[in-house]
């Protein structure tokens, strides 16, 4: 009986191992771009209601140049994007070409899962300075998809109704928000403030220390509790406590409120206004300006295109990017995403568009002063630092922990976790 059992157990183990082995992939020779093939592209913006379809249409323009290429898309929501891509890459798969946020790029670069792009783009490709952000330890691993700075956005009709001028300082921001709430009943101001949106909140929150002349590190050591950051957190807390802040709203909720004319002001990146234009709030009612902080700096949503090292179509993927950075597709891409972001090459904004969408101007003016939310010197450790800092910011907002104490403790915990 024992022998029978052992034989059956052995058979089961062999069967399971065979099944597992059968799931493994096989090596195929890499094809050249001329051979064509299927290119899988991933970008969370392909799901954007206002311009996702047009963005895809722009990418498909490549098929006119290379008839043997077939483009397919992988649609992943922003919230799940990084997790999904990481899991796919860990399993040896993933899309051939995909968009990555600047906060995610260092982790991928350090893991060595990106195909170098050095030598892919000739001298005729007029890549602008933003593409320097796609370099990692001297190697070009990514090219710019979109650099989206932030600006203060406001509904000019609501501000006029409340008799309020656009704020230019943190104190004016609080006063303006309160006055709007008192005189119109409309929520005065909104920005992200919930841990449920951790990654985008980190990028949004970076506006405050940037605007106050602060930052998270000096490149070698962490500077989480520097005085500028403390002043920024105090200003953030003051507007949160103003009684005119959209407490509890996530970005999707407060953007919908702005679109419905139920929110007066917000700080948001370039992608937001195009999605918030509506019959109630036309493009001409949305105005923008420099952030109401002491300095000119803003945060930025930096998005890059990369080629997956596991791709079976690396040459085709590189050829696609070579095509994408040509002036015509770049101009089209810039228009599709609302003309306010910087793409891989410099583009022009049609006069008529600026007239119909005056908010574009401030974004273009803020672009040279925008900075990513990656912690310099601790690039791949940014997620850990982010979580620690934001947890202490939450305690300031919700439990009234003094900003000095919160950032001092955050600095202490972050140093223990990542060094520096």
């Amino acid at each position: 009986m024992l022998r029978h059992r052992s034989a059956l157990l052995a058979a089961a183990v062999v069967a399971s191992l065979s099944l597992t082995a059968a799931c493994g992939d096989t090596d195929e020779p890499t094809k050249s771009a001329q051979d064509g093939g299927t290119l899988e592209i991933a970008h969370w913006d392909l799901l954007a209601p206002s311009y996702g379809a047009k963005m895809w249409e722009t990418f498909q323009g490549y098929q006119q140049q290379n008839a043997k290429a077939t483009l397919t898309k992988q649609e992943i929501t922003r919230a799940d994007y990084e997790t999904t891509i990481k899991t796919q890459i860990a399993a040896g798969g993933g899309p051939d070409v995909f968009a990555v946020a600047d906060t995610f790029l260092p982790e991928l670069a350090e893991a060595g899962v990106l195909e170098p792009l050095d030598g892919v783009f000739g001298a005729d490709a007029k890549l602008n300075v933003t593409n320097e952000g796609g370099k990692w330890r001297g190697k070009q691993l990514a090219i710019t998809a979109q650099i989206a700075p932030y600006a203060l956005l406001w509904n000019k009709d609501i501000l006029a109704q409340a008799g309020v001028q656009p704020p230019t300082t943190p104190e004016e921001l609080v006063t303006a928000a309160k006055t709007i709430k008192e005189k119109t009943g409309i929520t005065g101001f909104a920005v992200r403030h919930r841990i449920a949106e951790e990654n985008p909140w980190w990028i949004d929150f970076n506006n405050w220390p940037q605007g106050f002349g602060g930052g998270w590190s000096d490149g070698k050591t962490l500077t989480i509790d520097r005085p500028e950051n403390i002043a920024a957190l105090k200003a953030y807390k003051a507007v949160y406590d103003s009684g005119a802040f959209a407490v509890g709203d996530d970005a999707s909720t407060f953007r919908t409120k702005f679109k419905e004319g139920k929110l007066a002001m917000l700080i948001d990146a370039t992608g937001a206004p195009t999605a918030m234009i509506s019959d109630k709030v036309p493009g001409t009612s949305i105005m923008s300006s420099k952030l109401p902080f002491p300095g000119k700096n803003t945060s930025q949503v930096g998005i890059y295109f990369v080629v997956n090292k596991h791709s079976k179509n690396k040459d085709l993927a590189k050829d696609f990017l070579r095509w994408l950075v040509q002036p015509q597709p770049q101009q089209k891409l810039s228009e599709v995403i609302g003309n306010a972001s910087t793409v891989a090459v410099d583009t022009t904004v049609p006069e008529a568009y600026v007239k119909a969408n005056p908010w574009v101007t401030a974004y273009r003016e803020n672009a040279p002063f925008s900075h990513d939310a990656v912690v310099d010197g601790f690039e791949a450790k940014t997620p850990q630092i982010r979580h620690i800092v934001l947890q202490w910011v939450e305690k300031v907002l919700l439990q009234n922990v003094p900003p000095e104490e919160a950032l001092a403790k955050a600095a202490q915990e972050a140093k223990a976790a990542v060094g520096g």
Binding site: M1, H4, R5, L8, A12, V13, A15, S16, L19, T20, E82, T83, K86, T87, I89, A90, E107, L108, A111, V113, T187, R194, I195, A196, E197, E198, A246, V247, G248, D249, D250, T253, P383, Q384, H387, Q391, E394, K395, L398, Q399
Partner: protein
């Protein structure tokens, strides 16, 4: 006994055994091995052996202890709430009344609705400025509450949503048990002069008790590992108020890409589930012995 007869039981369980070996035992074993390494998500084969470091780091971390407590509190409240509501609903729809089929369908609905839809609806209900919950409170003269953003209310809100989502399962299972109570037993109790409460206490409850114990066990295990409702509603916040073990595992594995630490957390979570299961079987065996006596 012929060879064919001897082999038959093994053949019957063979398929399930292979399935469990491939899809449960193998990942579990891999998880155990990973928990002793510093493996990163983007380099799953490149981890080095670090002994008990991951476990040590977790056990000296205050946040881990707080996370275990949150998990136990969330599980206890969800199981208790769902059992009470589900059992009460089962009793309510056990007796025949006009429109019972419609009421039963409506009460079953939360179980059928996908979690993501539940989360979206409750996010709106709990919206501070415009949500139905606060508007209802305003009608009663009570001020705005930060259902999902107040550290004192976060766990309560998430538990309430979880109970609403899962109580129909208990209702259906308990209803089936209630309907299997022999009518003649109730009738003889009535003839013997037992009132409704006595019949409930002496006949109905003992009859459905095994069912209640098994649904309590299932509900406990499911609650210990529930992820989507909590993560989508609060992401583990505010201020870690809803940061359960599963949320921690997800954060370590996918935000921090630390598979080693995430696996160690997973193993500790598994131990918690095992403790619950062992307690269940001990209780079950004792009550079986009592019944035998």
């Amino acid at each position: 006994m012929s060879t064919r007869s001897r082999l038959a039981p093994y053949l019957f369980v063979g398929g399930a055994a292979v399935y469990l070996l491939v899809f449960t035992a193998t990942p579990l074993l891999r998880g155990v091995l990973l928990s002793f390494t510093d493996t990163k998500l983007l380099n799953p084969d490149g981890g080095e052996y670090v002994g008990l470091d991951n476990y040590h780091d977790l056990l000296v971390d205050d946040r881990f202890a707080s996370s275990v407590l949150t998990t136990i509190l969330y599980t206890a409240c969800t199981v208790a709430g769902a059992l009470l509501l589900g059992t009460a609903a089962a009793f309510a729809i056990n007796d025949g009344f006009r429109g019972r089929a419609v009421v039963r369908a409506i009460l079953t609905m939360p179980w059928a609705v996908p979690s993501i839809a539940v989360v979206l609806v409750f996010t709106w209900i709990f919206n501070v400025g415009d949500g139905v919950a606060n508007r209802g409170l305003a009608g009663l003269g009570i001020g705005e509450q930060g259902w999902l953003i107040d550290p004192d209310l976060g766990l309560l809100s998430v538990t309430a949503v979880s109970v609403w989502k899962v109580f129909p399962f208990i209702m259906l299972v308990v209803l089936a048990a209630l309907q299997s109570v022999p009518a003649e037993l109730r009738e003889s109790a009535r003839v013997d002069g037992a009132d409704r409460f006595t019949a409930l206490k002496e006949i109905v409850l003992p009859h459905i008790a095994p069912t209640l114990r098994i649904v309590a066990l299932l509900m406990t295990i499911w609650s210990l590992r529930r992820f989507e409702i909590i993560y989508l509603l609060t992401g583990g916040g505010p201020v870690d108020a809803t940061n359960t073990l599963v949320i921690n595992v997800y954060r370590e594995a996918f935000a921090n890409s630390d598979l080693g630490r995430a696996s160690a957390l997973g193993m500790l979570g598994l131990c918690l589930s095992l403790v619950v299961t062992v307690v269940y079987f001990v209780v079950e065996r004792r009550s079986a012995r009592r019944e035998e006596l």
